[in-house]
Each structure stands twice: as structure tokens, then as C-alpha cells.
């Protein structure tokens, strides 16, 4: 149901923006089904290669694409949906909003599946934003992680309750403070929203500058 | 060059204990690719390009001003080719400041 709530937010956002030419690209893992249910052009790629994406935390493989994509600022509005583990793990998790900001994303937000209205709003804003936007939607990882971690395995509701009790909206928080720690509150909000020329703008400008009227714009 | 340009406003108290080191530059000419880092950045202008070609067709440096070397080793650190290094002449360390 909670994956669904993210899709519903996406669908609502699409409706609200009234955009017609939208492509959704998703990757393997939990989100695999998502792209299947939306009535827009959908691409379901191999793991980690989404780039312009609606992806699970296939970050393990997609990182360099994500980083480079942010650096190039492709004109896309990807939303990243994170199912994060809460159990004690020797690996420290990424602070996705901070990484996204550092790589040059123009729009960065984080919401939990509970923050439906805010999430819808952010997706709509990101879709209308020119450039690389990232929305981290924190959603319950069904049985697996919750169970292992001692959060009662039967209760998605309890996990949602957990979000309710343990999240805090703070738009102004510097991204370096957004690391998720199991004994701290999850800070949600819209953290980055600024303007930067997109990759295609930069491409066209530079080549027009150098080549003058010999340049045939890429369409 | 230190000898000519440095003037102290007072004589250091430990002047008789400190000996200004005298360095000796060693160059493996055929290893040099003529980048010029050592010639440019030697603080005492010890080195100069030679006119000769080495085996690889470059002009290696030569020691133009042997006495001026204080053995700081910057040429050694900057040389990308491991072609130049300095040693300190223990016996020849001069007390040039006293002169």
C-alpha cells in the first residue's frame, strides 16, 4: 500500500501539472512494478541504469550515473524512492539529499510515504523544474527490514506510526545534517530549489557561441 | 643568491653554531625530459639549461652556480623523472653568514 501511495502521489502530480510528454524510467528491485501501472511512456531498465528515473535504492550500482547526471543537469525530474534498512549494519548509509545537492541537483526534497500531500506537491514542482531533481520518498520496506529490526513485522501501520512520531519538517536544514540515524528523527522537507542552466541549454549555448550559424541545434 | 642578497638586521646569536649547508647537485642527464621545473624553481638559481642534446633529444640542465646550492632539495622533489637530486657536503658546509 505504501509503494502505492507513492505512485498515487506521482499520478496526482502528473495530473496537476498537466504535462503531456512524460517518460517514466524505473529500475529493478522493489519499484519494478511501479512503472507498469502508469499510463505514460514507461521504460523499465536493468538495475541501476535509470538515470532519469523512478528507482529503488539501486544506488549501489547507479551511483556514478546519478552523480554525472546531476553534474550534467539533464532536463529530467526523477524521483528516488528509498527503502532503507534500519538494522545495525556495518555500512553507513548515504545521505541522499546531501549527495544530490553536492552533485549539483537543482531540486532536492525528502518525504515519507505518510506525507502524501507534500510529496505530491514536491513531485509536481520537480516535474516543472528545469534540470535534475531528486525526491527521496521514504516508504516502508514491507516485511523484510521492519521485521529484522524489531519493528513489529505485522504492522505497516506501526511503521507509518513510527514515521509519524519520528519525522520532523525542516525545510531550512542544511543537507549535511540529513543523515538518517535510527535513534534520531527523520528530517523531511524541501531542501534545495535553485536555478542552474540545464545540460541541453549549456550544450546549445556553447556550440552556438563557438560555431555561430554553422551550428545545427539538436532537436 | 643567499650570499649576496641576504642582509640580517642583527647577527643571529647562534651564528657560530649554525652552519649554512652546502649542497651538491647530481644530474642523470639522459633521464631528463627537459621540463624545466628544476631550473625555474631552484630558489638560488643554481641550474641552467645546457645546449647539448641528451639521448632522448632534450636539453638537460647543468650546474651553473655550484656554490649557491643550499641543498634544499626542491629540484629533487619537483623533478618528475627522478633525474636530479642533492646531497649535503658535510665537510664543505660554509659559514658564509659570518663573511
Amino acid at each position: 500500500m505504501n509503494q502505492n501511495s507513492v505512485i498515487v502521489s506521482l499520478a496526482n502530480a502528473l495530473e496537476r501539472t498537466g504535462l503531456e510528454k512524460v517518460c517514466v524510467v524505473s529500475d529493478v528491485l522493489y519499484k519494478k512494478g511501479i512503472a507498469d501501472y502508469l499510463g505514460v511512456d514507461l521504460f523499465h531498465t536493468t538495475r541501476g541504469r535509470t538515470n532519469c528515473s523512478y528507482g529503488g535504492f539501486g544506488y549501489n550500482r547507479g551511483e556514478s550515473f546519478h552523480a554525472r547526471c546531476a553534474q550534467k543537469k539533464l532536463k529530467n525530474a526523477p524521483s528516488v524512492n528509498s527503502v532503507f534498512p534500519l538494522y545495525i549494519c556495518p555500512e553507513q548509509p548515504f545521505n541522499i539529499p546531501h549527495l544530490a545537492k553536492s552533485c549539483g541537483a537543482v531540486y532536492v526534497a525528502r518525504w515519507t510515504a505518510l506525507h502524501k500531500a507534500e510529496l505530491t506537491n514536491s513531485i509536481a514542482e520537480a516535474l516543472q523544474k528545469q534540470g535534475f531533481s531528486v525526491i527521496e520518498a521514504i516508504s516502508p520496506g514491507e516485511g523484510n527490514f521492519a521485521g529484522v529490526d524489531g519493528v513489529a513485522s505485522d504492522a505497516r501501520e506501526k511503521l507509518l506510526k513510527f514515521y509519524y512520531d519520528n519525522s520532523e519538517i525542516k525545510d531550512t536544514e542544511p543537507t549535511e545534517n540529513l543523515a538518517i540515524d535510527s535513534d534520531k528523527k527523520i528530517i523531511v522537507g524541501k531542501f534545495v530549489d535553485w536555478e542552474r542552466p540545464t545540460f541541453i541549454d549549456l550544450y546549445n549555448n556553447q556550440l552556438r557561441h563557438t560555431l555561430g550559424n554553422k551550428f545545427v541545434p539538436y532537436e | 643568491m643567499l650570499k649576496e642578497t641576504t642582509k640580517y638586521w642583527r647577527t643571529p646569536l647562534d651564528i657560530d653554531k649554525v652552519k649554512v649547508p652546502q649542497g651538491e647537485v647530481h644530474i642523470i642527464k639522459d633521464r631528463c625530459k627537459g621540463c624545466g621545473f628544476c631550473v625555474e624553481y631552484c630558489p638560488n638559481n643554481v641550474l641552467e639549461f645546457s645546449d647539448e642534446f641528451n639521448l632522448m633529444g632534450y636539453h638537460p640542465p647543468f650546474v651553473k652556480n655550484e656554490d649557491a646550492c643550499r641543498g634544499c632539495g626542491l629540484c629533487e622533489m619537483l623533478c618528475p623523472e627522478f633525474a636530479i637530486w642533492v646531497t649535503i657536503k658535510e665537510d664543505a658546509a660554509k659559514d658564509s653568514l659570518q663573511k
Binding site: - | K33, F53, L55, M56, G57
Partner: protein
């Protein structure tokens, strides 16, 4: 040179324009002298300073085997190149060297050696990067495998436009040098 297929090798360091030498002669021969010329290159991973050579096979018909195994002309601008490629030079071949950079052994068989201070001449012209083109002027005059006219057309197409004049000057310099030396 009455042979149907002629193998030419240029050898030196990366950065001396060895590969470009092959391209210029190949272009002159195949586009302006209407023969077949296949150029191949072999180089190390380094851009400059490493051993570098280009080989050119010139023929009246399509070149089937693209490499030079026995060269008829060897143009060398480094000792290393000389040491490596002198043994593959035909006993009746011609050896062209930059005299400041290559110290040849006494010639084998009927090998003829021609020397020119190409790098020094190029430095005198203002830029050592045209040493290869000085060498090409020398080469054109001595070997006659390519016409002067074809070379003068091929050079401007093979170098950056701001260096065309310098390169043509370098070509003439090498060409004249051989005539002055009467070699």
C-alpha cells in the same frame, strides 16, 4: 626506385610528428600522385618521449599487406628508432637521419646514408615541431617517391592553419638543404 611496392618507415619519439610525416606523404601520394598508399602507425601509450614510428606502403595497385617488413627508406629522428629499425632496412635502402640525434654505425651492404640537422634547422626557423617537415623536404628531394607539387598540396591540409606558412618554409628548407649539400 623501380620496384612496384615501396616500404617507407619514419621513426623517432612521440611528439616529433612522426605519424604526421606518414600522413602527409601518404596523402600526397594517394590523392595528388594517384597511387595507392597505406599508412599505419605504431606507438606506445605515451604521447611524447616514447618510441614512435609510422609506416607507409606505396604501390601502383591496392595494398594488401598493410605493414612494412623490409623498408626501402628509413627516416629516423632518434637513436632508439635507429637501433630498432635499422636491421629491417633493405641492403639497398636509403637511410635518412637527423644528424644531431642519431649516430649511425657504418652502413651495411649498399645502404646510402643521408644526414641533415633537421631539429637544429627547425629551431632556427623558430619552432622545433617542424623538424619532421624539414626532414620531409629532404626526403622528397632525395627519394623521389612523391612529387614536390603533391607534397606542397598535402602539407597545408595536414597541419593547423596557423602553422601552414611555417611548415612550407620548413619543407623548402629541407629540400634546399639536400641540394646545397649535393647529396
Amino acid at each position: 626506385m623501380g620496384k612496384k611496392t615501396i616500404g617507407i618507415r619514419f621513426a623517432g619519439f612521440g611528439g616529433q610528428g612522426i605519424i604526421r610525416s606518414g600522413i602527409i606523404v601518404g596523402r600526397a601520394v594517394s590523392i595528388y600522385d594517384n597511387k595507392f598508399a597505406t599508412m599505419n602507425q605504431s606507438f606506445g601509450p605515451e604521447a611524447r618521449g616514447g618510441a614512435c614510428s609510422s609506416e607507409l606502403v606505396i604501390s601502383d595497385s591496392k595494398v594488401l599487406y598493410p605493414y612494412v617488413t623490409v623498408s626501402d627508406v628509413l627516416v629516423v629522428m632518434s637513436q632508439e628508432g635507429y637501433d630498432k629499425f635499422e636491421p629491417e632496412l633493405s641492403e639497398e635502402g636509403m637511410l635518412l637521419i637527423d644528424e644531431d640525434l642519431v649516430k649511425p654505425k657504418p652502413p651495411r651492404g649498399k645502404i646510402k646514408i643521408f644526414s641533415i640537422p633537421a631539429t637544429k634547422l627547425a629551431e632556427e626557423l623558430g619552432n622545433r615541431i617542424v623538424a619532421n617537415v624539414v626532414m620531409l623536404g629532404f626526403f622528397t628531394s632525395l627519394t623521389k617517391v612523391v612529387s614536390v607539387e603533391a607534397m606542397r598540396k598535402a602539407i597545408p591540409e595536414s597541419v593547423p592553419s596557423r602553422f601552414v606558412e611555417l611548415n612550407l618554409k620548413a619543407f623548402d628548407c629541407g629540400y634546399e638543404y639536400s641540394r646545397k649539400q649535393k647529396c
